[in-house]
Amino acid sequence: MQPAEYTKAVGAGATATTGQEDGWTEIIEPRTRLLDLGLKDVWRYRDLVMLFVQRDFVSTYKQTVLGPIWFFIQPLLTTITYMIVFGNIAKIPTDGLPQLPFYLAGITIWNYFAQTLGATSTVFTANAAIFGKVYFPRLTMPLSIVISNLVRFGIQFGLFLVIWGYYLVSGNSLHPNLYILLTPILLLLMGLLSLGLGMIFSSMTTKYRDLGMLLGFGVQLLMYATPVIYPLSRLPLKYKPYILANPLSSIVETFRFAFLGSGSFSWLNLGYSTAITIAVLLVGTIAFNKVEKSFTDTV
């Protein structure tokens, strides 16, 4: 009786991680399916995701005097710097928009991407100690980062809305339109893209630390390849295809178009960004799954 069951279980194990038909709740094996994200497992650990988010917030601002006010200070100071350097010294045009909402819009959404990517890309190396001692779905970590950055974005977005509202009421330089309704989709794309890229980078850096180096300044350089500090419309034609090849470009551009009413919008470009996002997410998932099971041996 034993041997028959035995072979059956082995046969089942090759294709599925849960061999329910034999009453086993779990089978630990060398390799899992490439695309299995284990979302069911993540759902069971949803409390942990929220606790990680809470930990991020509480620990960041403990023992600071200004506390959460730092959320506002950072984008504001960055915007002012950009206004001075790019707006007034380099005189890069802003599509006829007031500089403050123009830069703030770009910075707010760019920050969401950059911070999420920065944090997810070190998930394995930064948490090696915890990951090496206890199992919980590894995905909870990058997910919690995406969520806590989303909250952070929400706060900074609030700041943007206040300034945006002020300009809206005081003049008619801004022309928001119905594409504003696309905002949740833009955020989703941005979040998934940074999650996907972050998963790729974090998986690779467990073995090859070089990538961590690359990412540090890479994100900074990428900002210049995205219409954050300049409008897409003022780009010389020969550069335009390259900038549009960057999937982030149309997301940032659409965001600014929807709220400020200048620039351009194209379903084609946004569709391209969506396609790239899905591809990146797919590759990221595969890489993450491959590494998550044995990275403690190489990290």
């Binding site: 194990g13 009453g23 509480v58 206890v134």
Partner: protein, 416 residues
């Protein structure tokens, strides 16, 4: 019935690469991928060897575990024993899903929680209360479960006064207490425990061992326990698995397995120390600790310790010192030839020096030896790390169930 089986391990193997991971890994990865694409076996897995760390292997790859098979029944407490480097931790890591096996599989019935360490994920800036929730969730509890046990956890830890203070202000003892308290209230079907009990004060250790016994006795849960503390293993476990060089050497009833383990000659001393002779006139070659009536080094038995010293020339007035340190590196006692005004005149070649004690005053367990060879004016040779010996259980003396709360020293005693 096979449904009584909680864990079934089949043909489990784990390959590790020794040395530095860095240069060469990229090319190895590529040839590995190439081999897999052609449907061939991993070219580096073939040359792997069993893991005997005392001999220098031929290849950079080593099987930390190889062809491990065993079963654990529901409600059973399994003790996993073996020398350092036998593969115990690797096995636990695979069971805890921290790392994946290279070959084979483990089938599990029920939810697993593992304690390879207590306090994993504690954040120094968070308060005790916040850390209880965070740590509990990392270990697999839901927020509601933790909330319902919160008072018990705080009570068990005994740090109620500090519960709203960041844990970075805790003493290390308080920190461990709180960490263990969270773990102690986990309620999985299968609990995996590493030697985490080695921490904390004696009273707390006792509480923890008691708590573990409760978990298996009253609640009928399956427990896997890994420890060097043979006393704890024999009192807690019903079933044992003895690992040697990554393979199952013995599997069965706990006392039989413990006897197999302590009866294994030739693996008695773990010499993690490299004997260095360079630049020395005389050096330690070997230490042998035996009881007089047989080869075991037994608690309470009259014992003979042999120190072999290689000398390049004649050296007069040499003293020998042997310190016995417990696992916390506290000196338990010292054998020093000078105490007895005895010194040795070394001759060229190997000198065998013996020290006899009528009754070895140590409880069973692991001890580290500190060996000194020298005169009043110079140190010829000295080792303070890596010479580990194990004092075996002595079945002639009924000191059953001695654990570390009883101290290290066995005193000759007569009760009237």
């Amino acid at each position: 019935m096979s449904s009584n089986v909680a864990i079934k391990v089949e043909g489990l193997g784990k390959l590790y690469r020794l040395g530095e991971v860095g240069t060469g890994t990229l090319s190895q990865d590529l040839s590995r991928t190439w081999a897999r694409l052609r449907g061939k076996e991993d070219p580096f897995a073939i040359i792997g060897e069993t893991n005997d760390r005392t001999t220098k292997g031929q290849s950079d790859f080593v099987w930390s575990l190889k062809d491990v098979d065993f079963e654990v029944k529901k409600g059973e407490v399994l003790g996993i024993i073996g020398r350092n480097g036998a593969g115990k931790s690797t096995l636990l890591k695979i069971l805890s899903k921290v790392t994946a096996p290279t070959t084979g599989n483990i089938k599990v019935r029920g939810r697993i929680a593992s304690l390879l360490e207590v306090g994993t994920g504690f954040h120094p800036e968070l308060t005790g209360r916040e850390n209880i929730f965070l740590n509990g969730a990392i270990l697999g509890m839901t927020k509601a479960e933790i909330r319902s046990k919160f008072d018990e956890i705080v009570d068990f830890s005994g740090v109620e006064r500090y519960i709203d203070t960041p844990v970075k202000r805790y003493s290390s003892g308080m920190y461990v207490r709180l960490a263990f308290a969270v773990a102690a209230f986990l309620e999985p079907e299968i609990l995996i425990v590493d030697e985490v009990l080695a921490v904390g004060d004696a009273e707390f250790q006792k509480k923890c061992l008691g708590r573990m016994k409760d978990v298996s006795d009253k609640d009928g849960r399956t427990v896997l326990f890994v420890s060097h503390n043979l006393q704890a293993v024999s009192s807690l476990c019903t079933h044992g698995v003895y690992l040697q060089y990554g393979q199952v050497k013995s599997d069965g009833e706990i006392n039989k397995v413990i006897q197999d383990y302590s009866g294994d000659k030739g693996v008695k001393y773990s010499k993690q120390v490299k004997i260095v002779s360079e630049g020395k006139r005389a050096w330690l070659v070997d230490v042998k600790c035996n009881s007089i009536d047989d080869n075991d080094f037994k608690s309470g038995a009259s014992s003979l310790i042999e120190i072999d010293v290689m000398s390049l020339e004649e050296i007069n007035n040499v003293n020998i010192g042997i310190g016995f340190n417990n696992s916390n590196d506290y000196r338990v006692f010292t054998l020093y030839s000078k105490f007895k005004s005895k010194s040795y005149n070394l001759v060229k070649g190997v000198n065998k020096i013996y020290c006899e004690t009528s009754s070895l005053p140590l409880f069973p367990g692991l001890y580290n030896l500190e060996v000194f060879i020298g005169s009043d004016y110079e140190t010829l040779d000295y080792y303070d790390k890596g010479l580990q010996i194990e004092v075996e259980h002595n079945f002639n003396i009924s000191y059953m169930h001695v654990d570390s709360t009883h101290g290290d020293v066995l005193v000759e005693q007569n009760w009237k």
